[in-house]
C-alpha cells in the first residue's frame, strides 16, 4: 500500500502537467524565436543584396522635397527627420480637429436619432445608415475630387456669410493676427484658466460639503470666458486684428487658407466617424433604464436635471469604451490622407521611403508612431473611464 502510494507521487516527468506546461512554453518560445531569426536573416540578406544596411542614420540627410503645408519651419534643405516631424504635427492637428468635431457632431446625431420628432429622428437614422455602409476611402476621395476640387476657381469664389471663401485652391476663413498687446492678453487668458480652476475646486468642495449639485462645468467655463472678455475690452489695443481673406489675382490673400486636402480629409473623417459616434451615443443613452428617469421625475427633478444628474452620468459609463475605439479609429484612419495628398506622417514617410528606398526603417517608424498615438489615447481614456466608473463594493 505504502509503496504504491509513493510510486504514484513520483510521476514520470513526461506525464507531469506542470513540467509539460513549462516545456511546452519553452518550445513555443523557441519556435517563435527561430521563425523571427529566420525572417530577420532573410531580411538582412535581401537588403544586403540591394546594398542597404539597416540603420536610421539616413534621417539626418537633406530631404530635398517640398511639403505643401507645415506647422513648423520647413524647407527642402531640411532633414528627413524634420520632414517626419512636419508629418507628425499634421497628423496630430487633423486628429485633434477630427476628434473634437466628430464628438460634437456625433452627440448631436445620437440625440437626434432618439428625438420624438419623427422627421428629425428619420433624418438622423437615414444619415447613420447611409454613412455606416460606405467605404471610408471612397468617401474621402469623393470629398476631395468630387467636392473640394470641384469648387469654383479663385476668381469666381463663392463667399459664404462670415467671409468664408470657397475655392478650388482652398477655403479661406478670417483669422486673428496678434498685435502688440497680444502677450498681455495671453497672460490674462492664463489668469482666466487659474481662476476657473479655483472656481471648479470651490464648487466641488461646496458640492461635497452640502450635497447640492451646482453647474460646475458651466460656471468653470463661464469664469474663463468672462475673464477673456474683460481682458479683451480692458486692453487699450485689441489683442487680435481680424484678417479677412480676399481674392487677389489667382490666389486668396489674407485670412487663413485651409487647403482642399486638409478640408477633404477632416470633413470626410468627421462625417464618417460621427455616424459611428452617433450610434455609440444612442446606445449609451438607451442603456439607462426608463425606471431611472421615472424615479428621478418622482423625486421632483425636472427634465434638464434628470438628464444632467441621472441619465448622462450613467450613459457616459457605457459610452466611453466604444467611444475610445472610435477615437482610435479616427486617428488610424487619418493615415488615409495619402489618398487625398495631405502630408500627414504616413504620406511623408512614404515619400521618404520612395526617395531613399528605406522601406523597413520607415514602415517600422510609422507603425511605432501610430502605436504610441494609440497607447496615449487608450491610457487617457482608461484613466477617464476609471474616474467615472461605477464604484462598487
Amino acid at each position: 500500500m505504502q509503496e504504491s502510494l509513493k510510486q504514484k507521487r513520483i510521476t514520470a516527468f513526461w506525464r507531469d502537467e506542470r513540467i509539460l506546461n513549462i516545456l511546452g512554453q519553452v518550445a513555443f518560445i523557441l519556435i517563435l524565436l527561430f521563425i523571427a531569426s529566420l525572417i530577420f536573416q532573410n531580411m538582412r540578406d535581401g537588403l544586403a543584396r540591394q546594398g542597404i544596411i539597416l540603420s536610421y542614420s539616413f534621417l539626418s540627410g537633406i530631404s530635398g522635397f517640398d511639403i505643401s503645408e507645415s506647422l513648423i519651419e520647413y524647407s527642402r534643405t531640411s532633414s528627413y527627420w524634420q520632414a517626419y516631424q512636419v508629418g507628425l504635427l499634421n497628423t496630430l492637428s487633423v486628429s485633434i480637429v477630427g476628434v473634437i468635431a466628430s464628438t460634437i457632431f456625433g452627440v448631436i446625431l445620437g440625440v437626434a436619432r432618439l428625438s420624438t420628432n419623427f422627421l428629425i429622428n428619420r433624418l438622423a437614422a437615414f444619415y447613420l445608415e447611409l454613412i455606416r455602409n460606405l467605404s471610408l476611402l471612397v468617401f474621402l476621395i469623393f470629398w476631395y475630387l468630387g467636392v473640394f476640387l470641384k469648387l469654383p476657381r479663385v476668381r469666381d469664389a463663392v463667399v459664404w456669410p462670415g467671409d468664408i471663401f470657397l475655392t478650388n485652391r482652398g477655403v479661406g476663413i478670417p483669422w486673428g493676427l496678434p498685435t502688440d498687446s497680444y502677450p498681455t492678453f495671453r497672460l490674462i487668458l492664463l489668469i482666466g484658466i487659474v481662476l476657473s480652476f479655483i472656481v471648479f475646486f470651490a464648487l466641488r468642495a461646496y458640492s461635497n460639503r452640502t450635497g447640492q449639485a451646482p453647474l460646475t462645468t458651466l460656471w468653470t467655463l463661464l469664469t474663463f470666458i468672462i475673464t477673456a472678455i474683460i481682458g479683451w475690452l480692458v486692453l487699450p489695443e485689441r489683442p487680435l486684428t481680424f484678417d479677412i481673406p480676399a481674392v487677389e489675382g489667382l490666389n486668396i490673400s489674407g485670412g487663413k487658407v485651409l487647403s482642399p486636402e486638409f478640408m477633404a480629409l477632416t470633413s470626410g473623417l468627421v462625417l464618417y466617424t460621427s455616424a459611428f459616434i452617433g450610434e455609440v451615443v444612442r446606445s449609451g443613452i438607451l442603456s439607462v433604464s426608463k425606471g431611472q428617469v421615472e424615479a428621478s421625475h418622482a423625486l421632483g427633478l425636472n427634465s434638464f436635471q434628470t438628464l444632467r444628474l441621472i441619465v448622462f452620468p450613467q450613459a457616459l459609463r457605457v459610452i466611453i469604451p466604444p467611444l475610445t475605439s472610435q477615437y482610435l479609429n479616427l486617428i488610424k484612419n487619418s493615415s488615409l490622407a495619402i489618398a487625398v495628398g495631405y502630408p500627414d506622417v504616413f504620406y511623408i514617410s512614404n515619400t521618404i521611403q520612395n526617395q531613399t528606398g528605406r522601406a523597413v526603417e520607415m514602415i517600422s517608424m510609422v507603425m511605432l508612431t501610430y502605436l504610441i498615438f494609440s497607447l496615449i489615447t487608450s491610457l487617457f481614456m482608461n484613466w477617464y473611464n476609471q474616474r467615472i466608473k461605477l464604484v462598487e463594493r
Partner: protein, 398 residues
C-alpha cells in the same frame, strides 16, 4: 355584420393624420422649429440630388466601363468561368435557403431575384443571359433544398467548404494557353471580383487564426498568452494601410529569395493578418460570455481541455458572435478598398484608371458615387439579410 362588432378606441387614442402630425412633428415650439429645419434640409438635399442625378451627371462613363468595374481587365472570352462559379454559389445559396430558411420568404425572394434585378442595368446581352441563368439555377437549388430531406444538408455544407477553392480555381484556370481554362494571372483580376476575393479569402483564413489567438489570449500559460496579446495589440494599434505597405514591401524581404509571391497574394496575407487580430477580440468576447459552469460540467463529464473547447465552449461562443462576425465581414469588405493605394485594381483602383481615360476626364463625381453605391448596396444588403436570418433562425440567442 362585423362592423357593429368593432369597438372604437377612446377618442384620445384614435389615430388620425392630423393628430399624428401634431404629436410627432409639432409637439412643442421647439419641435415645430426643428421640423421646419428638417423639412428644409430634406427639400434642399433631395432637390439637389435629383437635379444632379437626372440632369447634370453623365452616366455614360459608368455604362461604358461597367465590365471594368465588375471584373477589371479579366479577359472577356474567359468570363464564362466566372459566371459558372457564380452559378455554383447561387445554387448553394438557393439550396441553403431551401433547407434552413424555410420561413424567411422575403430574404429568399430578394436573394434569388437579385440577379434578375441587375439586368435593369446597362449590361450587354451576354451578361443579361447569364444573370437570368443565375436566378434560374438559384430557384432550382431552392426547390431541391426544400423538397429534399435532411440528408442533403451535409452535402450543402461540403459544397460551401469547397466553394472558395472552386471559385479561385475557375477564376485562375489550370491549363496552359491553349487548353479549355488557360491561366489568368492575378494582375488581370480586378474590380468587384478582386474586392470580393480579397474579402472572402481574408475572412476565411483569418478565422482559424483569430480563434487561436483568442484562445491564446485566455490561455493559462504566460508565454502563449503574452505572445497572443502582443500580436493582437500590435496589429490593432496600427492603421491597415501600414499593414498593406508592409505586406507589399517587406513580405518579399522576409521570405527566402527563391520564393516569390505575387501582389494580390501579398494583399490577401495582409488582410488575413489584420483581420485576425480584430476577429480574435470578437471571439474573446464570445468566450467570456460562456458561464463558468459549462467548463466545470465538461470537466466533470471527463472531457479534457481540448475536448471541452472544441465540443462545448467554441460552438456556443461562435454561435453568440455570429452577428458580430457579419459586421466584421462587412468591415473587411469596406477596408479592402485600401489595396488601391498600394496599386492593385480593385473597385477604387479601377475607378482611377477609368478617370484617366481621355473621354471621361473630370467625371469624378459620377464614378465615385457609383462605387459608393456598390459598397452601400452590398454592405447594407449583407447586414439586412443577416439580421433577417438571425431573427428567423434565432441565432445569437438561446
Amino acid at each position: 355584420m362585423t362592423q357593429s362588432n368593432t369597438i372604437l378606441p377612446p377618442l384620445t387614442e384614435r389615430s388620425g393624420i392630423i393628430r399624428w402630425v401634431r404629436k410627432n412633428l409639432f409637439g412643442s415650439w421647439l419641435d415645430a422649429f426643428l421640423t421646419i429645419i428638417g423639412a428644409f434640409i430634406i427639400y434642399w438635399a433631395v432637390k439637389g440630388l435629383f437635379t444632379w442625378v437626372f440632369t447634370v451627371a453623365e452616366w455614360q462613363v459608368v455604362a461604358t466601363n461597367l465590365r471594368l468595374f465588375i471584373i477589371g481587365q479579366y479577359p472577356l472570352e474567359q468570363a464564362w468561368r466566372l459566371w459558372v462559379a457564380l452559378a455554383f454559389l447561387m445554387f448553394l445559396t438557393g439550396n441553403s435557403l431551401g433547407i434552413w430558411a424555410r420561413k424567411s420568404y422575403f430574404a429568399t425572394i430578394l436573394l434569388l431575384a437579385f440577379p434578375v434585378l441587375l439586368t435593369l442595368f446597362p449590361f450587354g446581352d451576354e451578361p443579361r443571359k447569364w444573370l437570368i441563368i443565375l436566378t434560374i439555377v438559384g430557384v432550382i437549388g431552392w426547390g431541391i433544398g426544400r423538397t429534399a430531406s435532411e440528408k442533403l444538408s451535409r452535402i450543402v455544407i461540403f459544397g460551401w467548404v469547397i466553394s472558395l477553392p472552386i471559385f479561385i480555381l475557375l477564376t485562375r484556370g489550370f491549363t496552359p494557353e491553349d487548353g479549355i481554362m488557360p491561366i489568368v494571372g492575378t494582375n488581370l483580376w480586378g474590380g468587384l471580383l478582386l474586392t470580393f476575393l480579397l474579402t472572402v479569402v481574408g475572412i476565411i483564413f483569418s478565422f482559424p487564426l483569430g480563434v487561436l489567438l483568442a484562445l491564446g489570449r485566455r490561455s493559462e500559460l504566460p508565454a502563449i498568452r503574452f505572445a497572443s496579446i502582443l500580436y493582437i495589440e500590435l496589429v490593432r494599434g496600427v492603421p491597415l494601410i501600414t499593414v498593406f505597405f508592409m505586406a507589399q514591401l517587406m513580405l518579399p524581404l522576409f521570405l527566402p529569395p527563391n520564393i516569390t509571391i505575387d501582389r494580390v497574394l501579398r494583399a490577401m496575407v495582409a488582410v488575413t493578418l489584420f483581420s485576425a487580430a480584430y476577429l480574435a477580440e470578437n471571439v474573446r468576447g464570445g468566450l467570456q460570455a460562456i458561464p463558468k459552469g459549462q467548463f466545470e460540467a465538461a470537466h466533470a463529464l471527463g472531457l479534457n481541455g481540448l475536448q471541452t473547447m472544441y465540443f462545448i465552449i467554441l460552438p456556443q461562443a461562435l454561435r453568440l458572435i455570429i452577428p458580430i462576425l457579419v459586421g466584421q465581414f462587412i468591415a473587411v469588405f469596406k477596408d479592402t478598398a485600401l489595396v488601391a493605394i498600394v496599386g492593385l485594381f480593385d473597385l477604387v483602383g479601377i475607378a482611377k484608371t477609368v478617370l484617366a481615360q481621355p473621354d471621361f476626364l473630370g467625371l469624378q463625381r459620377e464614378v465615385y458615387v457609383f462605387i459608393s453605391l456598390i459598397y452601400w448596396v452590398l454592405s447594407y444588403g449583407m447586414s439586412y439579410l443577416s439580421q433577417q436570418l438571425e431573427i428567423k433562425l434565432g441565432v445569437g440567442k438561446r
